[in-house]
């Protein structure tokens, strides 16, 4: 081998090794919005494109939060909830489109998801942190005012709620925000991938993690600290609902924030957590709540009927069931733990 060829071989090797080194730029932003902390990671070949995209994402998240916040007095939702039965015009077309989609999901799940459970959420103190246990009469009264079918939409007049009813987008807003951001992030030149961690309960993955391969997402063990396992995901949304996420204790009883629209009380279906994987953030977010309310049997029946999403169910006794689509992508932390694959 001549010196020149040796040099060439060295140059080729160097080039190959350089190719292995991470070239991807990564930009992170943390936002406090939607009653949680949101972490956005935007990756790409061009740092300034990633920064611009991440900044735009933060601005859009704030705008979505401002329109959908149930507690912000200048929001559309606040105006609707305090209109005393009058029509309220949505500020932008996306708000009406989101409402339509969310109401469709309420209908499809037979009301297991219901946007109008908000007065009950307030009564239990989950919005203020001043927790209390409403008595049976109060619960009956609250349950009688939960009915998504009473929400009226009119192209000309806007949206109307019967007096005494209130709605909020808590169960779907983060999932919707993930969809909205992902749609243009995928089209943004210089951005190759992103991970939108919208308060853990809703995660949107765009492309693959820097360095290649799907994103690695830990699924929290509902029974305490630690992970149940790791889920790999790319270009999909992951939504999780669990009783451990927000709860309080009173007289030795645990009361969590996921309410059964039928009873206006915490949903006790035997499930400890539900993780839904779907191309749609809105679906994975809203459906994880609905399936949690339904319980294992109805949730599995619902999945068999639809088959357009994947789900991982953890029961209160710790047993894990998942749909075949997740059999390869979910790895339990404890390799000896039994995982039941649904069919």
């Amino acid at each position: 081998m001549t010196a020149a060829r040796r040099l060439l071989a060295l140059a080729v090797l160097c080039a190959l090794l350089a190719g292995c080194a991470p070239q991807t730029k990564q930009v992170e932003r943390t936002v406090f919005a939607m009653d949680t902390v949101l972490t956005l990671t935007v990756c790409g070949t061009d740092r300034s494109a990633c920064q611009t995209a991440a900044d735009r994402a933060v601005t859009e998240l704030s705008a979505i939060d401002k329109a959908l916040s149930a507690t912000g007095e200048d929001s559309f939702v606040w105006a609707l909830n305090h209109a005393n039965g009058a029509w309220v015009q949505p500020p932008e077309t996306w708000v009406d489109a989101l409402l339509a989609d969310a109401l469709t999901l309420c209908a499809e799940t037979g009301g297991a998801l219901d946007l109008t459970a908000y007065p009950a959420v307030q009564a239990w103190g989950f919005t203020s942190g001043e927790y209390r246990v409403p008595d049976r009469t109060e619960l009956e009264q609250l349950a009688s005012r939960i009915d998504y079918r009473a929400v009226e939409r009119s192209e000309r007049q806007g949206v109307r709620l019967p007096e005494g009813m209130e709605l909020d987008f808590g169960a779907v807003a983060k999932g919707y925000a993930g969809d909205a951001l992902a749609a243009w992030l995928r089209e943004t030149p210089g951005v190759t991938s992103a991970l939108l961690n919208l308060g853990q309960s809703s995660i949107q993955t765009i492309g693959e993690r820097p360095g290649g391969g799907p994103w690695r997402i830990a699924i929290q063990d509902p029974s305490g600290e630690g992970t149940l396992g790791v889920l790999t995901a790319s270009d999909c949304a992951v939504g999780t609902s669990g009783g451990y996420q927000r709860y309080f204790e009173s007289d030795g009883q645990t009361y969590w924030h996921i309410l059964d629209p039928e009873t206006a009380a915490p949903a006790r279906s035997g499930l400890a957590s539900v993780t839904v994987v779907s191309p749609s953030g809105l679906t994975s977010d809203g459906l994880s709540t609905a399936l949690f309310v339904m319980g294992r049997e109805d949730a599995v029946a619902w999945w068999r009927e639809r088959q357009d999403f994947d789900v991982l169910l953890v029961e209160e006794d710790g047993s894990i069931s998942l749909t075949p689509g997740l059999a390869e992508s979910f790895t339990p932390s404890d390799p000896g733990r039994e995982v039941n694959v649904l069919s």
Binding site: L16, L195, G211, I217, E225
Partner: protein
């Protein structure tokens, strides 16, 4: 050894060195560091493996509340908080990157990185 064989041997040595360097640079970290941020601004980084004795970090957040962070060898928690809901205090200690401690009223986040789990996010 012929010149060709020498060249091949040199190439193999280089490749091995390159592979070793690659593996070294991409080795899984096992050095949990707690990153403490207030409203997205990093205020402290604590190498949890370097903690010999427990100590506390008093914090005043943008929400107008105070948090007292307790650091112990290998783990960290919020011991006291001036916020109304006390969610951060009730969460207790964290020792890995699975779930961060978040005090929403005070915009405090404690996230452990570099724990070797090789995770991008936690759902829950």
């Amino acid at each position: 050894m012929s010149r060709n064989a020498k060249g091949l041997a040199a190439a193999l040595v280089l490749l091995a060195a390159g592979a070793a360097a690659f593996l070294f640079l991409h080795r899984p970290l096992d050095h949990p560091v707690a990153r403490i941020t207030l409203d997205g601004t990093l205020v402290a980084e604590v190498d949890l493996t370097a903690v010999d004795a427990p100590y506390t970090i008093p914090l005043e957040g943008p929400g107008g509340f105070s948090n007292t962070v307790l650091v112990e060898p290998g783990r960290i928690c919020v011991r006291e908080a001036g916020c109304p809901d006390q969610v951060c205090v009730k969460q207790g200690f964290i020792s890995d990157g699975t779930v961060p401690i978040v005090c929403l009223p005070n915009k405090l986040v404690i996230q452990i990185v570099g724990g070797g789990e090789d995770l991008d996010a936690a759902a829950g």
